[in-house]
Amino acid sequence: MDLFRSQVLICGGTGCTSSGSPELIRLFEEKIRDVGLDKEVKVVRTGCFGLCEMGPIVIVYPEGAFYSHIKPENVDEIVNEHLLKGRIVRHLLCREAVEQQGATKSLDEVDFYKKQKRVALRNCGVIDPERIDEYIAFDGYKALAKVLTEMTPQQVIDTIKASGLRGRGGAGFPTGTKWQFAANSVSDQKYVCCNADEGDPGAFMDRSILEGDPNAVIEAMAIAGYAIGANQGYIYVRAEYPIAVKRLQVAIREAREYGLLGKNILDTGFDFDLDIRLGAGAFVCGEETALMQSIEGKRGEPRPRPPFPAVKGLFDQPTILNNVETYANVPQIILKGPEWFSSMGTEKSKGTKVFALGGKIKNTGLVEIPMGTTLREIIYDIGGGCPNGKKFKAAQTGGPSGGCIPASLLDTPIDYDNLIAIGSMMGSGGMIVMDEDNCMVDIARFFLDFTVDESCGKCPPCRIGTRRMLEILERITEGKGEDGDIEKLETLAKNIKASALCGLGQTAPNPVLSTLRYFRDEYEAHIYEKRCPAGHCKKLLKYTIDPALCKGCSLCSKVCPVGAISGEIRKPFVIDSSKCIKCGACMEKCRFNAISRK
C-alpha cells in the first residue's frame, strides 16, 4: 500500500450520504488532483461516525481536524488552506470538537495573536537570536544581497520613500527623506547610527527586537550604509540592556565571520562595519544630537538644529540616525516591495507599529498591529481589558513626551497624526493603561518628576520651568493647591514648549496639558474640594468609622501606630483626622468593614 502524509476521511454512512457526502468525495478527489497532492493525500470513505446531525462530516488526519456541516463550496478552502498550506480551517470545525479539546494549544490561535500583524517582530519568538544561520534561513541578508547586486543607492532610497516608512522612535519623520538628505550631502566619510537608547518608562519594544532578532537591525544598517554611502555604523544601546548587548555582539561577530560585515561584502566591493556604543542610561541621550555627542565621548547634551545630522552629525560628518524598530522594517520592505508595506496602515502612516502594553491591563506584553487599529481593539481584543473588572480610564502613549487618551476617544484609529491631534503622540510605543484607581494629577506629576530628573540642564526653560511645574503639581496632590494653579501650569507649559532647546523639554509639558484637557475636573477636585476622586493621593484621603457598623471591638485603636483612634468598648470608635497619618492599618484590621476611605 502506498504511504500518504494525510488522509481525508469522509463519512459514507446513510445520514451523511443523504446530506450529500458522495458529491463531497468526488469534489475532494478532483480538487486534490488539481493541486497535485494526489500522491500525498488520500480520500477515504468511512462508515458512520455517529454524529449524523452534524453531517456531512469530514476528518483530516494526522491532525484529527473534525469538520462538520461541510458543503460542496467548502471543499476548495479545505484543500487550499489545510491540505496545501497546513492551516486548519477553524471556522468549519465542529464547534463541540473545538470545545472538547478544552484549549487551543498554540499561541497563534489565541485572541491575543489573531489581530496582530508581525513585521518588525516577525522573527522574535521564532528563531534563535544567537545563530545567524537561523536568521539566514528566514531570508536573512537576502535583502542586503539584493540591494548590493540589483539596485543602485538611489533605487534603495526611492523604495524606502515609496513605502511610506516613518521613524518609529516617536517623531515620525519619513525615513526615505532622511536618507535622501544624507545621500545628497557630499563627504568622503558618512555614518549610519542606530538609536537603541530606549528610555520611556514602560517601553521595551527595541529591547525585544535586539534580543530576539539582532541580525535584522545589522542587515538594515548595512543597507542604509549602501544607500547613503557610509561604511561605518554605530549602535547606541543602553548599558541597562545586557542581554540585548550580548546578542548584538554575537550577531556582529557572526556576521563578520560570514563576511556580511567588513570588507568587500558578498564580493561586491562594498565595505561596511559596525560598532556598539553603550549609553549610561541618561534619557536625554535618546535625543539625536545628544546621542551623537555621547558616541563621540562627550557629555550627552543636545545642540541646536540646524545643522541637521544629515548634513553635520557624528564627528561633524553627514549621519543618519534611525530607531531600532525602523531598521527592523527595512529588509522586509526591500524583499517584499514598497507596495506591500504601504498596503498596511492608514493614509499617512504606513505599516505596523509595535507597542509595549503595560499598567492595568491583563495581557501585559508586546504587540504589533497595523497602523489604524483602534485603541479599543488594542486594549480590549488584544490586551484583554483591565484586570479585576475595573473600569478603563485612560491610556498613556508616548511616555514622558506623550499624553493620556481618555475612554471617550477609544475608537480613534492609532496613527502618528491622529495621536498628535488628540494631544498625545506615538512616541516609541510604550502604552500604559490606567483604570479608575489611577489619579490623573498624580500621573502627570509622575511623568514630570521623570523629566525633571532627566533634564540635562543646558537650557533654562527645561531646567527651571519643568521644576516649577512639578512643584505646583506636588502641592496640588498634597492638598495645598490654590486658585490659579491650573492657569499657571498652562502658561508655564506653553512657554516651555515654545522655548526649550530639544525634544525632551519641548514635549515635557504634554502629560500635564493632556490630563488638563481631558481630566480638568480631577485637578479642580484636588484644588477646590481637597479631594482625590480616584482615592489615590494619600494626603487627601480621609479615614472615617461608620458608627452604624462599628461594634466597638477596639482592634483598630490597638493597631493605630499614632494613637489617633479612641472610644469606649462596645461603643462606636472615632478617628481624629488631625493625628491620622493615613496608613490604612485600621481599615485592614476591621472585621466589620466599618472603616471607609474617601
Binding site: 478544552g102 498554540s106 522574535c124 521564532v126 544561520d133 534561513a137 534580543e211 506584553g365
Partner: protein, 128 residues
C-alpha cells in the same frame, strides 16, 4: 562567505531545522529567553529540558532559545514543534513541569493540555 550562492547554501542547510510547519523532521523545543522570560525563570527550565531529554534519550530533539514572544505575562514560555503536529505553546513553565512535557509530548506525542496557553487562559477566565 564570498558570494550570494554561499548565502543561499546556508539558507538551504538551516531551513529544515527551523521549519515550523508540521512536515518538519526532528523535534524543536524553543524557550523564550528575552529579559521577561529570563527574569521569570526560563533558564532553569531550559537546562531541565536539556537534562531531561538527555536522561530519557530522546532522539533528534533540539533545545534552543529565542527572544520575547510577546506574552510576557505568561513567561516562562516554551514552544514545541513536533513532526506531523501543530505547534504547542506551553506557558508558566517551571523545571518541575518539564519531565511531563518530555515524557508525554516529546516521547509519546500527546501534548500536556493543562500546561498549554489555551487551557491556562480558559482556567483564568473561569476563575473570574
Amino acid at each position: 562567505m564570498k558570494s550570494i550562492k554561499d548565502l543561499e547554501a546556508i539558507r538551504q542547510r538551516t531551513l529544515d531545522e527551523v521549519n515550523l510547519r508540521n512536515d518538519r523532521h526532528g523535534i524543536r523545543v524553543v524557550v523564550g529567553m528575552g529579559t521577561c522570560g529570563i527574569s521569570a525563570g526560563a533558564r532553569p527550565v531550559m537546562m531541565e529540558f536539556v537534562e531531561e531529554i538527555k536522561r530519557r534519550g530522546v532522539k533528534d530533539a533540539m533545545v534552543t532559545q529565542t527572544g520575547c514572544i510577546g506574552v510576557c505575562r505568561l513567561e516562562p514560555m516554551v514552544e514545541v514543534y513536533m513532526p506531523g503536529q501543530e505547534k504547542v505553546t506551553y506557558v508558566l513553565m517551571n523545571p518541575e513541569k518539564v519531565a511531563r512535557v518530555v515524557g508525554e509530548h516529546l516521547i509519546n506525542g500527546r501534548p500536556v493540555t493543562e500546561y498549554t496557553i489555551g487551557y491556562v487562559e480558559a482556567q483564568e477566565a473561569q476563575g473570574k
